[in-house]
């Protein structure tokens, strides 16, 4: 075998690798595309039939009535409540934890904390849900009242579930701020705390915002854990009713899709469309922020 054919073999391998990578990448795009097409193909006609106003602003979800009522406002509001609640619990704790890990914790502690947080990210949501059922639900029932299956409980649980996302991404955003910025603050006589919270953290704000948005995406899309602690009543709640149960867009689908057919099934798929649009908006916001942060 001469030198030349060896070169050819290597070139062939490179081409093969390139094709493989291209195929894998297109598989991902194809998957997203297919999901879009089928979701919208099945969901949009349903929204059309129900009437977009009736669908989005209707406060009654009565799929078994004749004629059925398909109003998903309670679920939209339910999703917004638990997501807002998750942000309320998860974001401050997550950001403080990220600052702690990037700027305060001694490296032996970091060596334990970091894998622990990675582990937290990998726990299946049904396990979180189980934890919510046996720990949080009784906790909320005994300390705040109600039966414990509530918006508050789901918010706390989701707040915990988005912590790893927020901590990990915020921490790397904080670490990416050049040490000269920190030193500039220290050289003015600022304390370590002051320099960390008032200079370095604000400097990392676009990364931290991105972390929060990804956390929101995770919270709004979470299904199993919410289903296990939220009570799931398809009732429009007011904010002060945070000790009552509520249903989210995701749980609406998963609770009923099993034995739904016809118009009911189509209305559930249409619920999925609304959820998907939420996620698209959140992603658009995310890439906008990323662009701003990169500039």
């Amino acid at each position: 075998m001469g030198k030349r054919s060896l070169v050819l073999v290597i070139a062939d391998k490179e081409i093969a690798a390139k094709i493989l990578f291209a195929l894998s990448a297109s598989a991902a795009i194809l998957a997203v595309g297919l999901i879009c097409v089928f979701l919208f193909m099945q969901g949009l006609p349903a929204i059309w039939n129900i009437g977009i106003i009736n669908f989005l602003t209707g406060t009654s979800w009565r799929p078994t009535w004749d004629p059925p009522l398909y109003g998903i406002l309670p679920m939209i509001v339910g999703s917004l409540y638990v997501t807002a609640g998750a942000i309320l619990f998860g974001v401050p704790i997550g950001i403080f934890a990220a600052v702690f890990m990037a700027k305060f914790c001694p490296s032996p502690v970091h060596k334990i904390l970091k894998p622990a947080i990675n582990l937290l990210a990998g726990i299946p949501s049904v396990v979180y849900g189980y934890f919510g059922m046996v720990v949080l639900v009784p906790f909320v029932r005994e300390n705040f009242g109600g039966n414990g299956n509530s918006i508050l409980t789901a918010s706390i649980l989701l707040g915990m579930m988005i912590l790893p996302t927020i901590i990990t991404i915020s921490e790397s955003a904080i670490r990416a701020i050049s040490p000269e910025i920190y030193e500039g603050a220290i050289a003015l006589g600022a304390s370590h705390e002051n320099a960390s919270f008032r200079v370095v953290l604000p400097a990392a704000k676009s990364g931290v915002m991105a972390a929060v948005i990804l956390g929101i995406g995770r919270a709004i899309g979470e299904t199993m854990a919410v289903r296990m602690v939220a009570g799931n009543q398809a009732v429009l709640r007011m904010p002060h009713e945070f000790l009552s149960g509520a249903r989210t867009l995701t749980t609406n689908v998963v609770l009923e899709l099993g034995d739904a057919y016809g118009g009911h099934r189509a209305a559930l798929i249409a619920t999925g469309v609304v959820l998907f649009v939420f996620i698209l908006l959140i992603n658009a916001l995310f890439s906008m922020l990323k662009k701003k942060g990169g500039a």
């Binding site: 000269e180 030193e183 500039g184 603050a185 220290i186 003015l188 006589g189 008032r198 604000p202």
Partner: protein
């Protein structure tokens, strides 16, 4: 020298772990003068200037011995290191404005030291920018991000930021090495003007700069202070052969 010295260093040694970076430095720095540190890369100029406001405390494995007195008082004794750094401002080699507005860059220091009144902060921002000779350029851009300024403006903003907490010493580590000649000239002019109110220590790679602006010059080599004295004298008749070699461009 009949004035009392601003800084007085005696037998200062400094190690980065096992590396002996400063060797038995003895040096007095007079007030309201410009003192330049020159010498080839890696000779310890930055290390020494960072010892003067204890920025070396941030470096893990850094040990220092000997004494450094500021106005007759040890900077390693029973003092608040944040108060020391408020008294001794620092300007870095690469302009390092905070990624916030021009106004907030200047107001950060005073706010940190407890000034809350909006009126007082406005006053400080204006005065600091005036003193750093950049008020006219920036007075209409106070709300703009500091990162939108040119390199030279950023560096003068950093000087203004250092002035905002009313220090009495200004340490500058090669403040013009990243700047064009015009920005450099502006900063040199500014530094000369500032010496009436501040004691200035400046590290420079540029020997013409040392000649143009400084009153005293110290020449360093491999962690040692080889020669220190009046700038005119050092550059016209250095007493050490190595100083002469360096300033005539025979090495470094």
């Amino acid at each position: 020298m009949n004035k009392t010295n601003k800084y007085s260093m005696k037998n200062v040694d400094l190690w980065y772990n096992d590396f002996h970076a400063l060797k038995n430095i003895n040096m007095d720095i007079p007030p309201n003068e410009i003192t330049a540190f020159i010498g080839p890369s890696g000779c310890g100029k930055s290390t020494l200037i960072k010892s003067l406001n204890r920025m070396n405390d941030l470096v893990e494995g850094c040990k220092i011995s000997g004494s450094i007195l500021l106005d007759g008082e040890s900077i390693h004794g029973n003092i608040d290191v944040n108060a020391l750094r408020k008294r001794v401002g620092m300007v870095f080699q690469k302009p390092n404005p905070f990624p916030m507005s021009v106004y907030d860059n200047i107001a950060y220091g005073p706010r940190t030291h407890g000034i809350k009144s909006k009126f007082k902060l406005n006053e400080i921002v204006e005065k600091s920018l005036l003193d750093a000779a950049i008020w006219d350029e920036l007075k209409d851009r106070l709300k703009k991000s500091a990162l939108s300024l040119s390199g030279g403006q950023q560096q003068r903003l950093c000087i203004a930021r250092a002035l905002s907490v009313q220090p009495d010493v200004l340490l500058m580590d090669e403040p013009t090495s990243a700047l064009d000649p015009i920005s450099t000239a502006k900063i040199e002019e500014l530094v000369i003007k500032l010496k009436t109110d501040y004691t200035i220590v400046i590290v420079t790679h540029n020997m013409q700069q040392a000649v143009r602006i400084s009153d005293n010059t110290g020449f360093f080599l491999l962690g040692e202070l080889i020669e220190y004295g009046n700038t005119q004298q050092i550059f016209s008749m250095p007493s050490d052969k190595r100083t002469e070699d360096y300033i005539t461009g025979r090495f470094g």
